[in-house]
């Protein structure tokens, strides 16, 4: 039973990873690609590691630590990448209508 649950979790994680890869190919610009990759792969990693935890209960503490580490690092790193991309003005897709970061920066500049 535990093995079945573990397998299903690993399969779900693989599906999320697949969607991350698909997003990389299909999304229109750097930012949307980045968010597809980050979100889907964070959840995919978590699910796969949880599934492994069902297979090997004796590993669960280490797996939990790895999950926490991935949950902390993945968003921070992709945030830094996206911010750097925004700083060097990598263009967005035309369909993007809201750019909160640029708006904040302009407001701050005019406030000075």
């Amino acid at each position: 039973m535990a093995e079945l649950i573990g397998s299903i979790l690993v399969l779900l994680g693989a599906i999320f990873h697949f969607s991350a890869g698909l997003g990389m190919l299909r999304m229109p610009d750097a930012y949307t690609r980045m968010q597809a990759g980050t979100k889907a792969s964070t959840l995919g990693n978590t699910l796969i590691l949880l599934g492994l935890g069902f297979y090997h209960p004796e590993w669960s503490l280490k797996l939990l630590i790895i999950i926490c580490f991935v949950l902390m690092t993945n968003p921070v790193s992709s945030h830094a990448l996206a911010r750097a991309a925004h700083m060097i003005r990598i263009p967005m897709t035309r369909r993007t209508t809201v750019d909160a970061l640029r708006a904040t920066r302009q407001r701050r500049r005019s406030g000075k």
């Binding site: 902390m72 690092t73 968003p75 921070v76 830094a80």
Partner: protein, 232 residues
């Protein structure tokens, strides 16, 4: 035309890899050399991790050479990028002001993550003789922590002098340990100069943990210096 060429290349690669996959049959027994290593290392060196056992005893001289290569890389990078560093030193404040501040998320993320990365690096280095890991890997993790700090804070300065001193000290101690092996045991970098201890324990496998720590410190320092050199 271009598309057809791309498809042709992909199909050719596919053919090559399918033939590899088809021709692959898993070996159920080890090769004679591998088998003798697998038997010999836990017996002779007392290290459960055969790979670290090989890297830090039988092939430790090679490892020393690899570290020397890494040192040459660091020196080369310093030579090439040193000119821009001089400019930086002449007006450090100006650079700090013009450098983009990293965001709050990265800054607080670094505060939480840097200690964790340091602990992880120490874990990898110290458990090199028992499980996957060792000096090189742990040193790379240390350098990634330094990279995170450099990214998070523009005011964070890597102390190049301290790093190069530590690195040289680690290198000298590594060679001295090797010579101690020559005197007290069978040869240069022989790990049996210290008691092998209980198989699989934290303090075991003779001098392998010591060599691993020295290697980790040395590699971490070298890679940190390289990272700092790339800072504009």
């Amino acid at each position: 035309m271009r598309r057809a060429f791309v498809i042709l290349v992909v199909v050719l690669f596919g053919l090559v890899f399918t033939s590899l996959v088809i021709a692959h049959n898993e070996r159920h027994s080890l090769r004679p050399l591998a088998e003798s290593y697998v038997k010999l290392i836990p017996q002779e060196l007392g290290a459960p991790n055969v790979i670290t056992g090989i890297l830090l005893t039988y092939r430790a001289f090679d490892t020393l050479g690899e570290v020397a290569v890494l040192f040459m890389v660091a020196a080369g990078v310093g030579l090439v990028l040193g000119a821009s560093n001089k400019r930086r030193k002449s007006s450090p404040r100006k650079v700090v002001e013009t450098a983009r501040l990293s965001s709050e998320i990265v800054q607080s993320g670094a505060q939480i993550l840097a200690p964790l990365i340091a602990i992880f690096a120490a874990y990898i280095i110290m458990n090199g003789h028992r499980s996957a890991g060792g000096g090189f890997q742990g040193g790379a993790v240390i350098a990634s922590g330094v990279l995170l700090l450099v990214l998070a804070s523009t005011r964070y300065r890597v102390d190049l002098e301290f790093l190069s001193m530590t690195e040289s000290a680690a290198g000298v101690l590594f060679v001295l340990t090797g010579i101690a092996g020559l005197i007290f045991a069978g040869g240069f970098l022989d790990n049996r100069m210290l008691p092998l201890g209980q198989f699989g324990a934290f303090f075991s496998a003779g001098a392998i943990p010591i060599l691993s720590v020295l290697l980790g410190v040395k590699v971490g320092c070298e890679l940190s210096v390289i990272i700092d050199r790339f800072r504009a």
